[in-house]
Assembly symmetry: C2
Homo-oligomer: 315 residues x 2
Amino acid sequence: MSGGHVLALCGGVGGAKLAAGLAAILPPDQLTIIVNTGDDFEHVGLSISPDIDTVLYTLSGLNDEKRGWGLADETWQALAMLGRLGEPDWFKLGDRDLATHIARTHRLRSGESLSAVTASLARALGIAPAIAPMTDDPVRTEIETADGRVLPFQTYFVAEQCKPVARAIRYAGAQTAKPSPAFLHALQRADLGAVIICPSNPYLSVDPLLALPGVREKLIALRVPRVAVSPIVAGRAIKGPLAKLMAELGVGADVVAIARHYRSLIDCLVIDHADASDAPNIAAEGVRAVPAPAIMRTHADRVALARAALAAASG
Amino acid sequence: MSGGHVLALCGGVGGAKLAAGLAAILPPDQLTIIVNTGDDFEHVGLSISPDIDTVLYTLSGLNDEKRGWGLADETWQALAMLGRLGEPDWFKLGDRDLATHIARTHRLRSGESLSAVTASLARALGIAPAIAPMTDDPVRTEIETADGRVLPFQTYFVAEQCKPVARAIRYAGAQTAKPSPAFLHALQRADLGAVIICPSNPYLSVDPLLALPGVREKLIALRVPRVAVSPIVAGRAIKGPLAKLMAELGVGADVVAIARHYRSLIDCLVIDHADASDAPNIAAEGVRAVPAPAIMRTHADRVALARAALAAASG
């Protein structure tokens, strides 16, 4: 890439970290972050967008680093009272976090799009780059389980803690959802310099974006470098149920499987040095492997990995 | 009265205290508490019923005695975050209190009536007597000010701290609102033994109930003792803007004016011993004055005043 605009596609925690690294490097007007909304759901009447919130909190520095999700200095008073009042309390709504859901729900009900709401929340939190949902239409990721159930994402992920065996993942509503204006604009801009697929869960966090009409085709047709950063390091997911899920879906939990998953969509896959020996197998998928330190523990790690991803795009 | 059912009409703080006193004395199935909803409003998309909440919190013992409103052990994390996100923060939403508003809003939007929601919240909080809104339809108390504005109740009461000079009070929607099923049932039940108008602000908290179609007529026609407890003691409101408001509306802030206000609706007015010398002037309004300790600081005070009101009804 040569100073062009960067389109980052991401889900929650891992993706948000790389997005924060990109935001720390790039001029704000050179970065668009498009976020998965397949995890969105309605809960006690509130419109919750977990991945957007994670990106907002991470990029504003308000996130809780230790817990790994949600806001720092969080308290849980409302949740305890909700339980007392007979409302479900399996989804951990923090008091500070609730404000985001209340504001979002109020603005959506007032007729604002999720794109507009997300932009105004980002602005209020002092975030400079563009953050937008993948779509303003409802898309709901569902997990088909081995015992024949179809679980809404949050039921699978939070209530059942990813314990059910997955057989397939589907993205209800994706076929008719329209990519958000910011997503379409980024895909079409003449100064687009690179696409970065952040190290989010391919099945749960990135595929919903790719399932939107035209997105996969547009990414394939792009004449700019497209780089994915592997969410798998040394055969293990950096976070979450990815390795378990890949096994259940019949693909090996390794960087080669990640390369194969994205093969038509990416030119490069940034992998951890620990997986450098897999570079030939990744090359066999038509993807160039770029080793880098892929585990992000500190802000410096995020910045370094963002630099590596951008370097891979320009290499 | 002789063990019959007691119908208590009340607004927020003072009324809730007497209602708690009544609840401590009477068998649960002998008490119906009908609560003002003229103060209800929508705020950041939440359906808030301040007087119902005060009654719920007071009768469940969860209220904050020191602050005088809201819940004990309250925190304000969501409110601070709402302000940061650009939402209004003039109405003090506590984190625990928010749970009530979230649960209520969710259930109302799911199609439950305010009566059903109130009953289920009361049950969840372990409150035995029936608590019901005055109506399931929207009624909104508005204050016409001397400077020609019409202020929604919470704008007048909280945002402008009752500072504007009031010229008139109106209850938008009251003419077409239907009294709640519990209210109508209590007014019509054969075993009704007494009506107690709690020491709430007559203009802001009790008149909205009386403005509902048929309520005033039914109260006038009742053949059971009807007792009001004065919210004015020694020329001062026990709490809130009542004395200021009465002056602005051109009525003296004293127990005689309270008797005059309710004269066609009540047989007795319980007044504080401090106002005992006004008994003849109250009698001149056709109302029997019953002196009692009318200031409720402790639970024992509430119980004693509830006993005095019930004694007045049976005397």
